[in-house]
């Protein structure tokens, strides 16, 4: 039964990745990345059903922060920015979707070449985590709306978290919390920067930040 739950979690993450690439509406993207964060937060509980309080506590905090904390911060910024749709990105949505599927396929191929200790279930996490990382990177690079860059960063961090689970990295609670806190403060600071961006440039288009060259 756990295998099925586990596969469902991974499929949700994969669908979230592709959906992120294909959506131009930013509130939807925020919700997608939040859903991805929630499912990933539950992943350790599904994988390692040893029910240690450490794991459950971490899962709870991850779900709260990634599923509700980050979307709340981002929605606040978005409301203030007032531009809920992506500005024409250089890589169109259809092309991004196709590229995302290609990346997914590549990561599955790559994942088969890793030799990881761990159960058969964790072998599946690796490709999905790698794909999420690559897709998060792609979004940060290709998109023009400043908030989408932050969302891409969040997807990247989601992928890294999944990678940690997939590689069975055992860290102490304090370290995991430290990492999570860093990401949270990072998003918070980015939110403040977005607030100032709103006052300085007419729309949150990263291409408008072009004064400093050479």
């Amino acid at each position: 039964m756990n295998t099925v739950l586990f596969e469902i979690v991974l499929v949700v993450v994969m669908i979230a990745d592709i959906a992120l690439l294909g959506t131009s509406r930013i509130p939807a993207c925020i919700r997608i990345v939040a859903a991805q964060g929630i499912t990933l937060g539950l992943l350790p509980v599904v994988v390692d059903h040893a029910e240690r309080p450490h794991i459950i506590a971490l899962a709870a905090i991850t779900v709260v922060l990634r599923g509700f904390g980050f979307p709340w911060l981002l929605s606040r910024s978005l409301r203030m920015l007032g531009v809920p749709r992506e500005i024409h990105p250089p890589l169109g949505y259809a092309m991004s979707t196709v590229l995302g599927v290609v990346i997914l396929g590549y990561c599955f191929w790559l994942g088969a070449r890793f030799e990881v200790t761990g159960s058969g279930m964790t072998r599946l996490v690796l490709p999905v985590a790698l794909a999420t990382i690559l897709i998060g990177l792609m979004i940060t690079i290709v998109r023009r709306h400043a908030l989408m860059q932050v969302i891409g960063y969040l997807a990247l961090e989601n992928g890294i978290y999944a990678l940690g689970v997939g590689l069975s990295i055992e860290e102490q609670l304090i370290v995991e919390l430290g990492v999570l806190l860093d990401v949270f403060v990072g998003v918070f600071v980015m939110g403040i920067a977005l607030h100032h961006l709103h006052h300085e440039i007419e729309r949150p288009d990263v291409d408008l930040l072009d004064e400093l060259k050479h």
Binding site: Y153, E170, G178, V185, G186, I192, L197, L209
Partner: protein, 490 residues
């Protein structure tokens, strides 16, 4: 006592948010003094590891900690004077028609102190994850500092810095994970990510994972260190930040990122695998020198000139790390002197900016006449940064090049020499021209020097001069010990 090294600035940072302005300006140098005092004490009394071995003072960390500490003291004194000179309220922007305002001083002071705290943790951390958390924390602490002068260009610099460095450091986290995986032996036993453990069990680490992890960490922390081609945030960030912040960024933060790579090299060396890493580092180093030189040649903004110079110097340090042996010792010595001189130069550039009110090197003339101290120190700094004796960069650079030629990297040595020459021409040509000649008539005659704005850079340059001629024995010992940590089979 080691924990006090970062608890003190942390607490001071929180305090800075609530105390009145006068106290706040004094709080920074006082914290700096306390920090330097503890740091000196640590030189005399070697403190043991704390927090279960997660915090310890090892040779490399000690070097970088001392640099950061001394630099902070100097820049915090300067900052006190700098903040006193800043206009409250709105004023005209030099480069655009829109006016701008400064961020609240409380934000500046507290972030400045948090910056020191996080840098201290980086130098002390022995656990790779703790080091990662601290390096990410430095990015977050410095972002508000970059945006102190609130105008569009600094916002652009801040945004680029935030996004690029966060993504880069996230890649370094992946690298850290891979190193953790390399420590997972077949028996299901996890080697913890403590430096001491990893170096002790070096040969048991799985080579493919270790190498992949190293590449990711090199790219990740290399972004933060300013290695080409990951450096694009650096000229913007270092030039748009206020001068005391630029000084610390160039002088201390780049070193912290370098430390991340150094520690990974230590693990690599203990696993006997250093060869592959060497080539990568040498490659990145030479690329940084070349690209930085190209951008420095026709550079119009003098702060950007200094920023590209930082890129070049980081390239040389990477080169030294990659060559290993005595070149590693030289790289650390190089880091010390680069930090001292570059910080001094940035502080002086702040003075020049204040007097001449322009960032263009072509419009600055006659600094020697308007502010003799600043102008004189600026000229000395220009010579120092290009590796002219008797300043300390010369022996370090010489040692690195000598090692390169001695061990067969002849082409690299020649390329570096060529580009060093280009950089010398570019830097001194621009820099000295700024000091000489007649000042624009709009400025008055020579003004009385602001001691708080002049003494810190003077002190830093003098220190570099002294250390260039005479290296105290304890320092030499620690440098040798540090250089030996990345020795391994070549």
């Amino acid at each position: 006592m080691l924990t006090a090294l970062f608890i003190v600035p942390l607490v001071a940072g929180v305090l800075a948010l609530v105390v009145p302005r006068v106290v706040r300006r004094v709080l920074m140098p006082i914290t700096g003094l306390v920090h330097v005092a503890i740091m000196v004490w640590a030189w005399i009394v070697r403190p043991p590891p704390e927090l279960d071995g997660w915090i310890a003072l090892d040779p490399v960390g000690q070097i970088f900690l001392s640099i950061a500490s001394v630099l902070f003291l100097a820049t915090s004194l300067y900052a006190a004077g700098y903040l006193a000179e800043e206009d409250p309220g709105w004023r005209d922007d030099i480069e655009s028609p829109l006016p701008f305002i400064n961020a609240p001083e409380a934000v500046f002071a507290s972030c400045f102190l948090f910056f020191l705290a996080s840098m201290t943790v980086v130098t002390l951390a022995q656990h790779f994850s703790l080091m990662w958390i601290a390096i990410e924390a430095t990015t977050l602490a410095t972002a508000p500092l970059l945006y102190f002068h609130r105008h569009k260009r600094s916002l652009e610099a801040t945004w680029k810095y935030l996004v690029l460095c966060s993504v880069g450091i996230a890649l370094a986290l992946i690298g850290t994970f891979f190193i953790a995986v390399s420590g997972q032996t077949a028996g299901g036993h996890h080697i913890p990510l403590l430096l001491s453990e990893l170096t002790r069990t070096g040969v048991m680490l799985e080579p493919t994972w270790l190498h992949t992890g190293f590449v990711f960490i090199l790219v990740g922390y290399g972004t933060k260190m300013g290695l080409v081609p990951l450096h694009s945030w650096l000229p913007d960030a270092h030039s748009e930040a206020p001068s005391p912040v630029s000084a610390l960024l160039s002088g201390a933060l780049l070193n912290c990122a370098c430390l991340g790579i150094w520690r990974t090299l230590q693990v690599y060396a203990s696993a006997g695998q250093v060869g592959a890493a060497r080539e990568l580092l040498v490659g990145f180093g030479v690329m940084s020198v070349v690209v930085a030189a190209v951008f420095m040649v026709n550079q119009r903004d003098y702060k950007r000139l200094l920023a590209y110079s930082s890129v070049e110097h980081m390239g040389v340090i990477a080169l030294g790390m990659g060559l290993g042996g005595p070149a590693a010792f030289a790289a650390l010595l190089y880091a010390i002197h680069h930090s001292l001189v570059k910080s001094a130069l940035f502080l002086l550039s702040g003075n020049i900016l204040r007097v001449f009110k322009t960032k263009s090197a072509a419009e600055v003339r006659g600094a020697l006449r308007t502010s003799p101290w600043t102008g004189g120190l600026w000229c000395a700094g220009m010579f120092a940064i290009t590796g002219t004796p008797p300043f300390g960069l010369f022996p370090a650079k010489f040692a690195i090049l000598q090692h390169a030629f001695a061990h067969g990297y002849v082409v690299i040595g020649i390329v570096c020499l060529l580009f060093f020459a280009i950089i010398f021409i570019g830097l001194t040509g621009t820099g000295l021209a700024m000091a000489q000649g007649e000042p624009p008539p709009a400025l008055g005659g020579a003004t009385r020097p602001q001691w708080l704005l002049v003494l810190p850079p003077a002190f830093l340059l003098t220190l570099s001069l002294v250390l260039g001629s005479y290296l105290p024995a304890p320092v030499h010992e620690v440098l040798t010990a540090a250089g030996a940590t990345i020795e391994g089979a070549r």
